[in-house]
Symmetry: C2
Subunit: 325 residues, 2 copies
């Protein structure tokens, strides 16, 4: 199978959103009047972003999911994406499930594959995704204001837990592992929540490197600080939410570490004015996505972790993920 057969067989589909899709030098996309195009790009490398043993269909899902998550964090509606793929060889047993997983998630979000590139090389998946958002309504990292509530969607830390189990540095019951593994391998981009938070949230980011690190980007960009209640966040890891279990899976520090610095979660952390609590809850309900209020924004720079009584909690051992650190 040659390069052009491969593209025709696995990656060429109708593109009603785009003026022109796969098959020319460029694709053509025309955002609606008054719309801005939100653009994001993520590159996934074997051994860094996924294990070589991962099911190709799940990998196809994840490669697009992490990009859709960036659109979600901006409150942008997915339109289209390009896929650049380096493969060791044109292996149909890999390409068929990979493209199925990829395009199933794409269809779910009405996000069309409009172009890309294929080449031989060490496995590398690079997706650039395009969404649209009314001019001026994108959720930015820079919009947080003192007094805002601080929220996070869904659960945190399970993806990292699964990775630790794969690496053999952690051990959990099989059912817990399977749940955590699904979170690692098939994250759910919070697109509906991002759209529902337009006009409500002041600032948003998606959690890819870990809650503390990604929240830090909001704080830096907004020139503010935050207080986070660890007595709330510690329970955000799904693996520890089984009330029928008699013994804790980990000590509290380990559990908190997963939640605060796990990474690969693809949840949204966002701020909204305290006056909009009802609107936030309505948005969460509309998007069928749980959100938890975990703290608030303050004028004083820095990130302060506190317990239920407001006393400082130290987590100096935690750090966010950095690809070159």
């Amino acid at each position: 199978m040659g390069e052009f057969d491969l593209i025709a067989r696995y990656f060429t589909r109708p593109t009603p959103n785009a003026a022109l899709g796969v098959g020319d030098d460029c694709a053509l996309l025309q955002p609606g009047p008054g719309m801005q195009l939100a653009i994001s790009c993520d590159m996934l490398v074997e051994g860094r972003h996924f294990l070589s043993t991962v099911d190709p269909g799940k990998l196809g899902h994840k490669a697009l999911a992490v990009n859709l998550s960036d659109l979600a964090a901006c409150g942008a509606k997915p339109l289209a994406f390009t896929l650049a793929l380096a493969l060791e060889r044109a292996d149909e047993a890999w390409l068929a499930p990979f493209s199925r997983g990829l395009l199933a998630l794409a269809d779910l979000h009405g996000c069309e594959l409009i172009g890309g590139d294929t080449t031989r090389g060490p496995l590398n998946i690079c997706i650039t995704v395009f969404g649209e958002v009314p001019a001026g309504q994108a959720l930015l990292r820079s919009g947080a204001r003192a007094g805002d509530d601080l929220y996070v969607s869904g659960t945190l830390g399970d993806a990292r837990l699964a990775l630790d189990v794969f690496r053999g540095t952690q051990s959990v019951p099989a059912a817990v592992f399977e749940q955590a593994r699904a979170r690692m391998e098939q994250p759910t981009p919070r697109v509906a929540l991002g759209l529902a938070l337009r006009g409500i949230a002041h600032a948003a980011i998606d959690v890819s490197d870990g809650l503390l690190g990604d929240l830090g980007h909001i704080l830096d960009a907004s020139g503010v600080g935050a207080v986070v209640d660890t007595s709330i966040t510690i329970n955000l890891i799904a693996a520890c939410q089984d009330s029928t279990r008699v013994t804790a899976l980990f000590d509290a520090d380990t559990q908190l570490g997963y939640v605060l610095a796990g990474g690969d979660d693809y949840e949204l952390v966002f701020t909204a004015p305290a006056s909009k609590r009802d609107a936030v809850h309505a948005a969460a309900e509309q998007a069928q996505t749980p959100v938890t209020r975990i703290g608030h924004i303050e004028a004083q720079r820095g990130l302060r972790l506190v317990d239920a009584q407001g006393r400082p909690v130290s987590v100096q051992h935690l750090r966010s993920f950095d690809h070159f650190a």
Copy 2:
């Protein structure tokens, strides 16, 4: 140097074209009223698209040039690009010249770096480029009509010649090699020509895999055939244009092979109605880019190579580049 320092130091710059550049979950781009966004994506892998010994500054140039070439082939004006980069390590001695070469070409075309991704992994450079073109005016592969003249810009075959010299399968005088090497390592995207051909050319593509293969895409997409005069094309290789040389560098078959199937040329092959020859020449002059008329389009499908007397020329040994063939 961590991931965020690396991005800040080498890849963060002002972005007057974009509503929002590097540093949020998404970049924001708003094409002008009535404009379509032309989007293309190319992935460059060490050993496939460039040699490990290449100067990083030249590689930075080439990585963007091959993408700008796709915009040129659509007649789109460059606006912005994203860069995803997998690196074995954050090596400043590589990053500094790479980013300089990349951004110098970007500046030349007013094409802004608006976002991207960096990760650790086998060296891989994936650029997605954005240009704008008035709706309906993009040059497509599908527009060729019987009776059109067939043109190609610049010179062909020198990049492949340089590669063969690097591989040791060909030998040429040092001055010839340096000229060919420059064509391989620092191709010139024909952006000005693509813009000047709007409203004149019927169809266009850029030559990346070789003239015959890429022209074949125009013929397939347009449902037409072409006649190409090999007595003209054979002289398009710059290495053989030195009139002071007494002996030929290669036999005629080899020379024709470089021109017709060399690849990596990043010239434009395009068709235009015979009634617009003056307009084509004026566009070439305006763009300061030489163009050569090499044949014409016919209704009968297929690609026919002929000599100066119109007799068939056989080149069955030639084939276009395919990453998975």
